[in-house]
Symmetry: C2
Subunit: 212 residues, 2 copies
DNA sequence: ATCTACCGCCCCCGAACGTTCGGCCGGACC
DNA sequence: GGTCCGGCCGAACGTTCGGGGGCGGTAGAT
């Protein structure tokens, strides 16, 4: 009979006490197998080349290379490895940079050991565990960009249409054609919407409406 | 002694059987109070004006106004109301449109009644409950935009710098100043990076590099 | 009936932009 | 040696863009 395939877990955490506690929580679980515990990103990187784990429990605040950068590099070479961030950092920068780097889970350090174990299993089975407040902030980020442009509702319907085509990179002449207008009319609308948006160029308008 | 403040819950669900089942699952819980159950968005809208609930369990596929549109309008007037989407729709469009509309929870209909009750409590206490696969897709959306631009690594170092400033809306003269170049040199770089990117204008380049 | 906002069109002008040419230099390749 | 190529720089040129006027018409609000 084939033995059960245990989830291969690695831990990257500079605090020795926490790291040991983490391992002690994970190891006894029959579904998990801790294949490495590292005090910094460099040690982890050196070891991962041999055989990558299934899940990496990653601290963010590491000496040397940050956990975010470590995550980025890891996902670059082994996209299938799941990174579960476990950190005290609960600011938006850390959170979203980690997610953009490829993390698929985010726990705060106030999580109890049992929760970490549960999260590892969740992430390995296709889920994305997050602390409660974290999940809320992630979802809130989707409708937050409402504040992007407030002046936009100062625009008339026509001006919005012109802006639309403007944003697509069409020249005045082309906009005039697609909207059945004269070039000078387009010009007028552009002028008006520019000072409503308080910008001085096409690119300014784009950067104002769709900030990156 | 003051009675415990129960979470006021409304249900918007067109399927009568599901709606009733939902209510039957929620009502007995001592922490919850079902203040309304509606078969469509219009009925809900008419009733919500009196006193909005704390949490709305919202179906997406409704007759008439969609659950997404209903959510958008609801959040417009009562941003503090939490919307928990509960639907069979598990496509990315429904998901992200709902989130952009202001939903702060997303359950698939395969959730068990007890999970729905749990999710309502979670969402009321500042969390954001999601089905496992949903959460993963949400987080994956953050590092997905890797595919942004492919031709970008054809650019030389100088051209990348110019492009950077170009994207910020700076004029050629300004770019020349910040990079200590002649305006004409900037022009040349722009020209070269334009045909590497196969575009014909600043705006084209932006739309190619940062598609919305 | 006046005022205001939006729409459409026209003229002009200076500045910015996109394009075409050319030159210089260093490395690669025959 | 020669030659090809790419990155870098520059001058000149025609076009587009941003911004300034003004004119007429419609629709709603005061």
């Amino acid at each position: 009979m084939k033995t059960y395939d245990r989830i291969r877990v690695a831990v990257v955490e500079d605090d020795e006490v926490l790291r040991e506690a983490m391992v002690e929580a994970l190891e006894p679980d029959p579904a998990l197998k801790v294949v490495g515990a590292f005090a910094d990103a460099e040690a982890f990187n050196a070891a991962v080349h041999e055989r990558p784990p299934t899940v990496v429990v990653m601290d963010l605040n590491l000496p040397g290379m940050s956990g975010i950068e470590c995550t980025r590099r890891l996902k670059l070479h082994w996209p299938q490895v799941q990174v579960l961030v476990c950190t005290v950092q609960d600011d938006d920068d850390s959170l979203f940079n980690a997610l953009c780097a490829g993390a698929t889970g985010y726990l705060l350090k106030d999580a109890r050991p049992a929760q970490v174990v549960e999260a590892v299993k969740t992430i390995a089975s296709g889920g994305s565990p997050m602390s409660a407040g974290i999940a809320r902030r992630v979802l809130a980020s989707f409708n937050a960009p409402r504040k992007a442009a407030k002046e936009i509702d100062l625009l008339s319907q026509r001006e919005r249409q012109v802006l639309e085509e403007l944003a697509r990179g069409l020249r005045y002449k082309e906009i005039a054609d697609t909207l059945n207008l004269s070039i000078d009319t387009v010009r007028t609308h552009v002028r008006n919407l520019y000072d409503k948006l308080q910008v001085g160029s096409r690119t300014d308008a784009l950067n104002k409406l769709y900030p990156r």
